[in-house]
Amino acid sequence: MNNELSTFNSEKVTNKLRSILSEHKGMVLDESILSKIDVICGNIEAELKKEGIETAMLFKDAEQSKKLKNFEERRQQERRKNDNITDVIGIGLCLLDKELKIIWANKTICNWLDLKESPIGSCCHDIYHCSEVGTKNCPAMNVFQGGSGRIIETWITTKEKRRMCVQHVATPITDERGDINNVLMLTIDATESEKIVHRLLLLQKLGEAMQGTLHLDKLLHLILTCVTSGYAFGFNRAMLFLINKEHDVLNGKLAVGPSSPEEANQIWQDISSKYTSLKDILDELDHSYNIDTPFNTMTKLMVFSLSDGREVVASCVRKKKPIIVKDAANDPRVTEEFRNTLGANQFVCVPLITKDEPKGVIVADNIYTGEPITEDLVNTLTMFAGQAALAIENAETYKRLADKMNQLTETQHKLIRSEKLAIIGSMASHVAHEIRNPLVNIGGFAKSLSRFKFTDQKIKANIDIILDEVKRLEIILNNITDFSKPPIPEKINVQICEIMENTCTLMENYLQERYVNLYKEFEPDIPQVLTDPTQIKQVFLNILMNAVESMPNGGDLTVKITTVNKSIKIDIIDTGKGMTKDALKNIFEPFFTTKPHGTGVGMAVSLKIIEDHGGNINAESEWGKGTTMSLTLPTN
């Protein structure tokens, strides 16, 4: 058998074995490849038997023709030839007998296992350093017993000091009776497939990290960090472009990576000393980091038309296929502009695609290390880009949802406020009516009393107090009823500056009394607006009064009128006490007041009026520093 085996091989069979192996190079070994190997082994067996017969015939022939010597030479020749073939087939072969002793091995396995001397005669576990010997997991034993056996993933260091991941597969060799006399151990290089498994695991990890991020900016940063991290894809730099459907362009969104070789060294040193795994980096990802780099700024300014599509990134998106540019200087797909901006001669564009729809593109390069971009890496990157695109879509959807939610919340707040106003309004109106009648009586009779002559001056003085108090209550009632039912505005085209001027004139004396300096900054050519001048004047008066009251010891009051985006902006700035955050939050709430004698409707009424005019009031205040009230009124 021994002799026959050394002559079994036929070039046909081994070539087939090689072609299958090369076909599956870099892939995870699966059942199909194993079954193929099985078939080949079947063929080898068949060849073996045939060779056996031929040899026997040769012997016969030789005896007959007494050309034994010639035959022996021929046999030796045949053997060398076959040895050469088994040695170069790129698969480790080792034949074991029933005692698990090695009876033959090819050179490949000797080299891979870095054997110093011939393994023939040794036990299999001596050369494989297998820990399964004697256990029920021993693949060779299993095969001898009619089962199957293999050892997945063993790391070895070859004679050439290469780290290699191998799989051992035991295959039975049967004689013509079908008995298993030998086991052929196939040792297959699985380093590439192992690498791919590693990448798939990485992809899974990155995918998980991405799916957990719904904030778009953070997500983009995370994606590019994955592309550039040494623990993941390890590119030097990466840029991300997203499609803007409205304008049919690709917009530069973010770029991660150093802007110069010096910076690159610095960053990589920092990272390797700080982090030990990708997870570390992702966990510690500071989303403001790298944002101010020239590379990022440059990327954000980049816009490429999609309809034009000449640009390599645009065609990448259109074709939905990754593009590896190996020599940008001589590649017709790359425009000079892009080449100059990027500055790298070799780079890769990978499209971001979800549901067959392109979302954008990632561009990555190794400008500083000059490491070539392999197709393998690009394939993995493409898979990653698919996940990234999905995550981006999720984040975008989430953002749209969040925007809608914000809108809804705002509308709800407005609704609640107007509902509140309505309830308060009707209540206030009722209470006001109920109070007004007795008040009329108190005040009215007090007045009629005051017409009498009193000898005691005190009586007259007390009556006057009653009258004053009644008047004060009536003013409050008027405020409340005005608030509960603000009149429909009667709008005419007016000049806001004039209304403000009038209001200021009205307050001139009051301002002087309080030592308040008034500064007016009106932009020239403020357009007229359709407003109810009486109501607007009431609002101005209200806010100016509040401002003055916040400056009991005097101060500066600035009134600015400017045009901003089709609306008029009126800023009323004081240097008064300012408001606490709590007060600021509530100033537009009806009946909220910080003043001892305030009714708390002034700002609520003011806001209602301005809103009726399609405008808005914004209040900013800092406790102890002052308050700025900004009113906007649309001009059309």
């Binding site: 006001a432 009516h433 009648n437 009329v440 005040g443 009215g444 007045k447 008047k471 009823t481 005005d482």
Partner: protein
Amino acid sequence: MTTILLVEDDKNQRLLYEQELRLEGYEIVTAADGKEGLGKVQEQPPDMIIMDINIPKMNGIETMGMILSKYKNIPIIINTAYSSYKDNFMSWAADAYIVKSSDLTELKNKIKEILTKKAKDLKQRQPH
């Protein structure tokens, strides 16, 4: 002497207006609700009517409608605690709309103004 009918459900307020308007030299007839007011008008039509809108037994506006349909020449002043009725178009039919106040000056001025106008109108209509 000018007679003014005052329709007001608040007893003290009726007393207040009576006192104050008498001092102005008017003859005051009072009614506590719309129904009574209408009766008083039918009994002896006054020169002017002052009424609250929110009076019991026939809402003020309803009473006003009835009076206006029969006695077109009697001026009516609505004197009420509600400013909201101002928007009710029926109240436009009134000659004046005054929001109640302890200060009766506005009411008194309005009465004078309307009476002067009425006298002038009458004069114009009378043949010389």
